[in-house]
Subunit: 485 residues, 2 copies
Amino acid sequence: MSAKNLDSLDKIVSLSKARGFIYQSSEIYGGLSAVYDYGPLGVELKRNIEELWWKSMTQVHDNIVGIDAAIFMHPKVWEASGHVDGFNDPMIDDKQSKKRYRADMIIEEHILKLREKGKEDKADELQQELDTTGTREGLCEDLHEIIMREEIRAPESGAFDWTEVRQFNLMFKTHYGATSSNDEDAIYLRPETAQGIFVNYKNVMDTARVQVPFGIAQIGKAFRNEVVARQFVFRMREFEQMEMQYFVEPETDGESYDEWLEKRLEWHKEIGIREENLRVADHPEDKLAHYARSAADIEYHYPIGWQEVEGIHNRTDFDLGRHQEYSGKKMEYYDQKEQKRYIPYVIETSVGLDRTTLMVLCDAYREEEVDGDSRTVLKLHPKLAPTKVGIFPLVKKPELKKVARKIEENLKQDFTVRYDESGSIGKRYRRQDEAGTPFCVTVDFDGLDDDTVTIRYRDDMKQERVKVDQLETVIRNRMKSWKPE
Amino acid sequence: MSAKNLDSLDKIVSLSKARGFIYQSSEIYGGLSAVYDYGPLGVELKRNIEELWWKSMTQVHDNIVGIDAAIFMHPKVWEASGHVDGFNDPMIDDKQSKKRYRADMIIEEHILKLREKGKEDKADELQQELDTTGTREGLCEDLHEIIMREEIRAPESGAFDWTEVRQFNLMFKTHYGATSSNDEDAIYLRPETAQGIFVNYKNVMDTARVQVPFGIAQIGKAFRNEVVARQFVFRMREFEQMEMQYFVEPETDGESYDEWLEKRLEWHKEIGIREENLRVADHPEDKLAHYARSAADIEYHYPIGWQEVEGIHNRTDFDLGRHQEYSGKKMEYYDQKEQKRYIPYVIETSVGLDRTTLMVLCDAYREEEVDGDSRTVLKLHPKLAPTKVGIFPLVKKPELKKVARKIEENLKQDFTVRYDESGSIGKRYRRQDEAGTPFCVTVDFDGLDDDTVTIRYRDDMKQERVKVDQLETVIRNRMKSWKPE
């Protein structure tokens, strides 16, 4: 048996569409860019990932609790967090096509074209200039000057008819409630879920009887009006995050940061990701976000290259401090033992649920040659598999169907199952292979006499004959002992 | 023991805040009206409800699959669904205060005031007039005329300085993507989740190998800019729905509607709601929504009265028909056995997740007098309880703590647990009573010799001594056999 790993994202896009993992949003209307819907297999996979993450945080740790804050928050939250002022991209409009572009991207593309034409010196010079444009104040003017001077044309219309460069906020804005003036009631879709945790930090402390160090975990949607959103579910305008903010005593932040980085890396292995496809990339100090003392990405080796799937950040007391300033509410913690008062530091672990789902699909994907035949198989961790057990009567005979249906009836109390009687048994196995179903149970005539069935394992395609009343135990044991190949 | 049921919503609001079930959103900034955040206990309760609903739909039925469509959808979807044209409220602005009101509500309040002043005849007459204003075309003019004629003043400013009455759409609008013209890129936050199912109906049929009758289930957020949003989580601007759309052959819609109404009523009983607090209210034919042939509410007896928690609707082929018309894509199903082609009819079951959570809290709430003492207890179905097991060392002695921690370590693999060593044992029981924790395990000195602990049951407060290695079994059995009192 020879196996091939995934070599292009397109294969996952096709499989996702064909088998019902992920569809483009509003496809019958031509689609909505950078938004996707999860299909029947996708939603089960996603829910399983969520559930494992949630348990690994809240159930396993006695000092981590969950919350679920709303997407809508008071607009002041985003002033305090820095998003109203700082969460911008420099944009320029082509007056002819009415299309809007990121000004720095327009220049980047121009540099690429110069290189294609062999003008490496000019390209290097421009790149150098672009890299050093910079302070937020002068950025728009600097970028505009370059575009004008180099006479860079609009990518689609080919026109040289630009507006000024202006900062555009990436938050989606809407109007809320019942006032007639439009500025008073502006509200944003949250661009990150973390702030829902920070504004509830006091509520949680007062009601959940936690003591520093403690964590608050949350799963939820966030929204960013990215100009360049692409690469399937990797970068979407609407996406889901699984975040845990861990509140610690100021001097212990470094230690806690190291600990969580290690724990989170471990989690990715526990859900079945192969070690060689994971790595940690530290953010160099000069590239840190305004709120961070240190930061690292857990990266996965996607077919599009090494990319961030999770971020671990030492956010210091930045967020709580800002909320204290903007809300006038004390955000201090009083340590009774040590008799001291402080604003806790925060270690954040933030993993993209969509990116994790994509990682899981990519890592599980194999094309295998088996005795001259080929199959596509998703070697998902059985705990993540959307369907745990396929149940087939060998042929469409009433006596076999009856037994198969009875097995379905029993197993579906504890597992997601799929009854299938159509097509050859080989075809049915292949369908379940593509869906990542770890176990298939086939009812045949031999088994009618001694209450046995064959159970077939997805990964090595081996088959065993087992007693019907042993099925549940066999499946449970296999699920526990599973390891990625 | 004498028990008292819930008599006011305020008690649930207070308990929710105090124990961390539900907080007001962005509370440190003065709150955001009609939006709430779920705290540590609330999020676990909500997740448990979700999980039971999801399993009762997708895992138990072999012809129901799930999806998870995005909140953002193509704007054409809302033209097809009728929401762009029809999802409006008639609004009027007070020019002095700049506040906006629902015009019909202004008149309703005026009628109430008339009644308070004993002017019943006038009130009846006006009510009659209001009830017969009506066709959508003339509605705004009619309402405006009444307000002018009766010289109704603005509730807050007391001014009589109104704008015209205009229709305002209840959908939240935002701008999407990268074009500079503002009308092209308008997009809505979905006001219902159902359309995410309808636009994916073809995708699901093509990939999930389902045949009519089949269902698609979904849990997700929806958003409505309600002018009058109130009554805690009962009517929010951001809320969560659990919906299942069941696609059937046109002539079988009546039968399927009856079946689902019955099944859904049964589900509410299964999650522990007392039968006497549930009822079905049919919508009279002249009050049906534009898409519905028949509709019924499953109502719960909240402290604010009988109110809808779930709606069952026969949506006919309205939605699929409209999407066929607007997208140009065939929405027909081809029945191979019968060799006929049709657009399926849709039976919808739509239950509010927040309303269900509120119902569960209300129904479980009891104040009990026990031997002169009183306690507040949430008699939640154990499957729904946020914490399954409280684990206490009787006193803070190392040898008891060690055993208690070991029990915690074991049980937390399968259950949500809460270790607690602070305060008297009585206080610890009361805390868990208020959290709805069905089991408390106490480690005492007697038990050290024979590996036993006492398990205390929330509902009757009875205690039993059991072997430590029997705990899991005892808990599992009790969870299965639990019935509401």
